[in-house]
Amino acid sequence: MRAYYALGRAVALSAVTYRTNFLLGLGAVLFQLVALLAVWRVLLAQSAVQGFTWPQMQGYLLVAFATGTLVSMMSDFRMAFRIQMGLVALDLVKPLDYQRARFAEILGGAWIEVLVVAVVGGATLTLTGGVATPSPAMLGLFLCSMLLVIPLKFLIVYVSALACFWTQSYVGVQMARFVIINLLSGALIPLAFLPGWLATFAQWSPFAGLTSTPALIFIGRVDPGRGLVLVAVQLAWVIVLWFGARLIWRAAIRQLTVNGG
């Protein structure tokens, strides 16, 4: 445990070293927030669309920004680089569980992400004049859901980075993951707008837990019962993916060849 704590601490202290990737990831999410706020402000000026009012949509987009920022600093590029260069061999000889070690790093770096979310969220709220906030009970559920976003997003990014054991380049994998998450998590557009079959599929996929679930709870689009079910689905996916990732890891290191050097 102490070893993992040390890893987390190291990343927490050096969080600013990965600032390039962090800022770029942040830029993508931030400009999407700006564009979508502008789009919905026009569209919802007169009346609600699909049951979404302007204050609700603002709340939704803010949560989408927050979930998009969390775990964005994950050094998945570094992980991909180490796998492709064979440096992962050094990670393998350490008496640490690889998956837990990477997760500890995520938790260590989370402080800077939470800080950014607080600043941008606060600024947006001041500029736009506040959004509808949920009741205390729903707020609790919302916080649980947001906490679950961290392991869930970590696992999805982690699994996609493991693809580097089979491919030469990570950029394509990363790009595909980004757009799939953007659509199926509801970050780009609430799932209720998608065609029925796609919405249902996205709803039960692990991706909905990344944005849609906390955002819908935050703006009060779901009643407490339904909210609990959605959070339970989030938790279930975290458990499934945690053990699923271990199976993939086992297959991955079995076919790894590292040349000496």
Binding site: L23, G27, A35, A38, V42, G172, A176, I189
Partner: protein, 262 residues
């Protein structure tokens, strides 16, 4: 002529190297097509519930997204090397370029091929083609050639902004082109009508980094809408200005280059 021929050969060498890893080529191609598919799903889902965005319909928006995809595709397929300029400066790679009898900027921009550009050009072209068949543009003998000139200008503007912002690396001396990448991300805002944005963003996209001339102004002119439609006519001039500015910035920057010292 010789410049073009050599440029194609330089790109060709990198293209062949790239095709060595066939699986990666396909992953990249699928990823870019997927990006545009998600964009289309987004537009379809949005406009299934609302008729228009400030007077812009589904097909108008499809045209905007298509032009951006095409311009980005040209940028990454033919000029991807620009994104490596910061690294080339930092590692002193420009030393090699400087002793060869060929424009340094072109050697730099041909130093890499973005294979995703190919699929972006194809999908962007399809999006533009389908949109043009549906949009409400009164085509005539002079709007057709004008539209072609505007599309070419859009590509020139996009590529010139890329070159100018990457050339800023001569002054910033960081190994990653953070400025260029952020400006590139700002360009994504121009896929939506400029009229929906607050004044600051309008000024930024219209004047500071004129991404609005890639999509909004020319298309607004062709549709005959917008507050001042004739601004769209300035597109070729803006393109010429951007290209000239990018060239000057690159040349000024190159004078500052002092190798890596090893």
């Amino acid at each position: 002529m010789r410049t073009t021929r050599l440029y194609v050969r330089l790109l060709g060498a990198h293209l062949r190297a790239l095709l060595e890893h066939e699986a990666d080529f396909w992953i990249m191609a699928v990823a870019t097509v997927l990006t545009q598919v998600v964009n289309i799903v987004f537009l379809t889902a949005l406009f299934a519930k609302v008729p228009a965005l400030n007077g812009w319909t589904f097909w108008d928006m499809m045209l905007m997204f298509g032009v951006v995809a095409l311009a980005e595709g040209v940028g990454s397929f033919f000029f991807e090397g620009m994104w490596r300029l910061a690294e080339q400066i930092n590692m002193g790679e420009l030393d090699y370029f400087l002793v060869r009898p060929y424009p340094v900027a072109l050697q730099s921009s041909s130093a890499q091929v973005g294979i995703n550009g190919l699929s972006n050009m194809v999908v962007g072209g399809i999006m533009i083609g389908t949109a043009v068949a549906h949009v409400d543009i009164p085509w005539s003998a002079w709007t057709v050639p004008l539209a072609v000139v505007m599309l070419l200008s859009a590509v020139v503007i996009k590529v010139s902004i890329n070159l100018a912002t990457n050339a800023a690396s001569f002054w910033l001396s960081s190994p990653t082109p953070l400025l260029a990448l952020s400006v590139h991300q700002i360009g994504d805002l121009a896929r939506f009508p400029l009229s929906i944005y607050p004044f600051v963003i309008k000024a930024a996209l219209g004047v500071l980094v004129p991404f609005a001339f890639v999509t909004f102004f020319p298309i607004a002119f062709l549709r005959g809408t917008g507050a001042v439609p004739w601004i769209g006519l300035l597109t070729p001039l803006v393109a010429a200005y951007c290209a000239a500015a990018a060239t000057v910035i690159f040349k000024r920057g190159l004078l500052r280059y002092e190798s890596a010292g090893n």
